[in-house]
Symmetry: C2
């Protein structure tokens, strides 16, 4: 302990950098950085171990700014420590193509662990990072080798505290007793609508207590550096609970508008900028100033971090000798490599193999590959038996004290918390040693849309196992039957939406989901049984689309996905038998991947010159890309046995055939 | 108080009906109805006032089954009281086209207030119903005329308690001190994954205390009818807090598998059905049996409800004499009519009027119409100043004790709780006297996707004011810039997605949003200024699409929405000036409405024979429907000043013109 002038100077340096950068950008949020500069100074310097020269060192302490709009705090701190963020980058804050965008993006900027800004997301990510640490430590740590023991720290504000995703993640973290997770709640009484009194009067700490967290309150968050240090120290000592420290701060500390909404989302006025600098002993006429002694102090801590990494590297070298297999395994994961030959475990099917629901086919994949791919961490949002996400001998990831699992367990019970699950999976993925997969009904992936979007934006290899993927789920009815969901996620950049039609397509979907290191996947899977197709292979399906039934001189191409592909195959037979009409059938399990194929290949699948009709039991939006006519469901579904529901909407071979004939006729006339 | 054999018989009748209906359907959830039959019996008979012959009586007590999978409880109870649900309807449970679908749907079935099943939604709806009651009562009640004083009751289970949306709504309800809201938490320790110990170990009552709720615990929820009654009575007496009663029950009470996950989501086996009936004194060989004395008792309570309504009607008649204006106003709302001539208040613009952001144009609409449409209740998820959702002299809806608003206030501060806001708005709409409108950024409407879907499914007139609708929001960057969002909601049935291009289109969007009583709307609005178009009128825009720039012998049609329409107009000028090429421009502010126009009209807008290109700064998915070529953004955006971002992605007149020329060339070759 013992804080002096240099500490205050450093804190005020961070504040003035935030003031200058938002002023120069004429946009941004100075308030949170000015209010949280003291805690950031204490946390990063007194507690966190990291090496700015190697931001990927696996055992670094993790920091998440869940109130991501305050990112000038993070950029300033990273700059001071010598991360690859230059003063010019700070001056480029919120400019096109800078590495200092308006909200922090992990794939753009060294030292940013996760992409935050959408409120509550970082909170859930932090829980995921802590889970990944606990699991990875349990798998790899050995006596004398405490290899993986980092903490995860997270700042969050009132906005995050109000978001449901943070509630879900907080309840999960409390249940899981994540002692390695320490959060700082920036209690500044201000949100965009002004005083939090207008909408947010709950007792936040009491709520966290109810979740099972250790709670503390530091009342003088602007000045009491010793109190902050003591609270974090105490939080570290609590090993069986996550910790939250409520820190009462003054938003925009130092500004003439401090403590008001005026400093939340707008730069300070010019005279206020000068006033702040003067107050803090800076030259009001200068901008973007870092006193040398501040750089020196921060660089010194950075050097300590580099030394810590070097020490760790030596420990890891010794470990690799003493624990050859585990050492090689950890090294492989750190190298970003998949286990050699894992893909040979993927199930392969013959047309004569029995019909199965694709959720069962997915279960089979997990059963077959889980030993070969030990970084796979499965789970479900309380639908384990329906999502079929758990291999038979799986052990739950649980605090051992509960007696129902282990830290090394690879199956996570997320509870009925889809959004929390997705945000947590983004955090698990960001840790770097695991591939998270989590299940819910496809319809309820929508509950998680905020996080799913960030999986895609932040290039997180997250696998959404989305069963009960259509009206085919039957009796549960329209509230549970997705109509718009595939269109939604097909429109999301960098997201693979897979809707496999049989066993080989399901294996292909997993192959692509696991090998695409920068892209998340949604696997849309059926509740009902599907026959194995004649011509499907993993090799064909990984192209995202292929010809499932070829025919010479065809009159029409039926193009489809998932459960409707085999219906189209039946419809093709029906057309031949009843109308002597020849239909080809094309399966497109993944638009994103199919669209990336060479044009010749795509034209081979969907040749010009013959009419085509899409068949999928949901919104037709987007199918115009591949077809002249669309047979879909632009209305909500119905509750009933799935065959009755399919029949109600005419998704039967005759119904498809009738529409195919009409399409052929129309196209004839149009020529 | 005083419960006897008849009460037990009624409770067991409900249980056996649930057993029989799920058995016959071979699907469904018997566990919750069997566990919650006692509380339902007590609540409906001892506390609730309603008239089954007029399920729309405005002052009825409201009941919401947030754990909607237990809907056989609700169907059975409604049947016993004589609602329009026959014994045959119960036998038709979960069959196609029945009025007893797998989850309760408000537009299908009398007595179902809101559509539930997706967990947590009903919880938020109940908060909305209670808000609507508090507001409506404050507006219309007068001394001697306590016209609107109903309670809202809600059952919810562990699943709802885990969902973030329920946390958001609970925090809101606590803040708002909704004394008219009484919730029963079915604490049965079971969710789909089994014992809640595996994922849900928080202290639920303590959490609700932290939110500001009054909490009670009835430990013998299977048997202690007196305890339940006393708890509800106590809850009614607490006027300044919402109440939650934790009721510890045995899921599937009576079954051989009671207290286990085995009775949650699967019908009882045949021998267990018989065993249950025998245990309860029913003939094990008979099904769907209601003892006459049970009907008699329930019908007696129903008759009391009918009498209560009759009394109320007389009171209301007197009220209409004494308070002529208010009486007529309430009558108008109950008749489902809009105020005469309100639409004349909608702003109309000339091309010479200044450029404005459509969020400002939206604000102007609210400013102009809020007096004429007093049932409009606006609000925002903590983005009031950004969404421009508050008219100048608005009063906040707040508990008066806070000193910052009134129950009669028409502006709701939802906090940073998008999903909660949407679920609450669905409940407000369901109450029947209000039209809720709520703001957030378009990108964060996705956080609310679960509830937005239910707005559409349950035909709720809810208005989503979704500002900052594209990369045009600028500096906040990709985390806040929607790409997939319009495709998502355009694919949702019964949802109007409006993206107005100027003032008249914004007025048209509001016109349609307010007059479409069965359809919700999302209004996608800009942060940046838009010029007023030459040819826009409200009359044209309410067709969902129209010709914004007509031209003889045009070489191409540019089809667009929102902020890109005026860019297309500029591009058309550029094409004429630089290339002597003639372009028409079509604006399609709403796909859903445009698609409903006669084919001739649509062809008039988008004639065959000339190439067309869509221009919209987001995912092109779905635009193939209206265009040969698509210019969009199938990637994430960028952080920077909005003009720089538009330029980066070539959304400038030259960029559009270049692609238009290429499209014209391609189409020439293709002919
Ligand atoms: Ca705050
Ligand atoms: Ca339960």
């Amino acid at each position: 302990m013992g804080y002096g002038d240099l500490d205050q100077l450093a804190i005020n340096t961070i504040r003035t950098l935030a003031v200058d950068a938002t002023f120069k950008a004429n946009s941004g949020h100075p308030g949170a950085p000015m209010g949280m500069a003291p805690i950031a100074h204490v946390l990063f310097n007194k507690f966190m171990t990291f090496n700015p020269k190697n931001p990927n060192w696996v055992n670094r302490d993790r920091f998440v700014l869940s109130n991501g709009h305050g990112c000038m705090l993070q950029y300033a701190v990273l700059h001071l420590f010598g991360y690859r963020i230059s003063m010019d980058d700070l001056k480029d804050f919120r400019h096109v193509d800078s590495i200092t965008p308006g909200h922090p993006e992990s794939h753009d900027t060294d030292g940013i662990e996760v992409t935050t800004g959408p409120l509550g997301q970082g909170f859930a990510n932090a829980v995921g990072l802590a889970i990944a640490q606990a699991h990875t430590g349990a798998v790899f740590n050995k006596p004398g080798y405490d290899l993986i023991n980092n903490y995860t720290y997270c700042f969050f504000g009132d906005g995050c505290a109000m978001e449901g995703i943070a509630s879900e993640a907080a309840s999960t973290a409390g249940h899981l007793q994540l002692g390695n997770l320490i959060m700082i709640y920036d209690d500044n009484h201000i949100s965009i609508d002004g005083d939090t009194k207008c909408a947010f009067t709950e007792d936040v700490l009491k709520r966290f207590e109810a979740y099972g967290w250790h709670t503390q309150w530091v009342k003088e968050g602007d000045t009491d550096l010793e109190g902050m240090e003591a609270a974090i120290k105490k939080a570290q000592e609590v090993k069986d609970k996550p910790s939250v420290i409520k820190l009462t701060t003054t938003i925009g500390f130092g500004s003439k508008l401090q403590g008001t909404g005026g400093v939340h989302g707008n730069p300070l006025k010019e005279d206020d900028c000068k006033q702040v600098k003067k107050k803090f002993g800076f030259n009001p006429e200068e901008s973007f100033v870092v006193p040398k002694e501040v750089y020196d102090a921060y660089h010194k801590h950075a050097a300590e971090g580099a030394a810590a990494e070097e020490e760790w590297n030596q420990l890891f070298s010794k470990y690799k000798e003493e624990h050859k297999d585990l050492g090689a395994e950890l090294q492989r994961r750190l190298d970003g490599k998949l286990p050699e030959g894992w893909e040979k475990k993927l199930p392969v099917y013959k047309p004569t193999d029995g019909a199965q629901a694709s959720r069962k086919l997915s279960e089979k994949v997990l059963e077959e590959i889980h030993e070969a791919v030990p970084e796979l961490l499965s789970g479900s949002a309380d639908l384990t038996g329906s999502n079929n996400t758990r291999w038979k001998n799986a052990i739950d990831f649980q605090p051992p004290s509960l007696g129902i699992g282990e830290w090394s367990g690879r199956y996570l019970r997320y509870g009925v918390r889809e959004h929390g699950m997705a945000g947590i999976m983004n955090g698990i993925s960001a840790y770097g040693t695991l591939i998270p997969a989590g299940g819910t009904f496809l319809n309820f992936v929508s509950y998680a849309a905020g996080s799913v979007r960030l999986s895609a934006l932040s290039h997180a290899r997250v696998i959404y196992i989305a069963t009960h993927d259509s009206i085919g789920l039957g009796e549960d009815g329209p509230t549970h039957q997705p109509i718009e969901t595939l269109a939604h996620f097909r429109a999301l950049p960098n997201m693979m939406v897979w809707r496999p039609a049989d066993g080989n397509e399901t294996s292909a979907a997993y192959y692509m989901a696991i090998t695409s290191k920068q892209t998340p996947s949604i696997l849309a899977l059926t509740r009902q049984n599907l026959p194995q197709l004649e011509n499907s292979t993993i090799e064909k399906a990984i192209k995202g689309g292929y010809v499932a039934v070829e025919a010479e001189k065809a009159n029409i191409t039926l193009v489809s996905t998932g459960s409707e592909v085999s219906l189209c195959v039946e419809a093709a037979k029906y057309l031949k038998d009843k109308h002597d009409v020849t239909a080809r059938v094309v399966s497109i399990p993944c638009f994103e991947v199919f669209d990336a194929q060479p044009k010749e290949y795509r034209l081979q699948c969907l040749p010009d010159g013959i009419p085509s009709m899409s068949v999928e039991v949901m919104s037709t939006l987007g199918w115009e890309r591949y077809s002249h006519e669309q047979f879909g469901l632009n209305r909500f579904g119905a509750s009933g046995a799935y065959k009755d529901v399919y029949k109600k909407f005419d998704f039967v071979p005759e119904g498809i055939a009738r529409r195919a004939m009409a399409t052929i006729d129309f196209y004839k006339d149009a020529k």
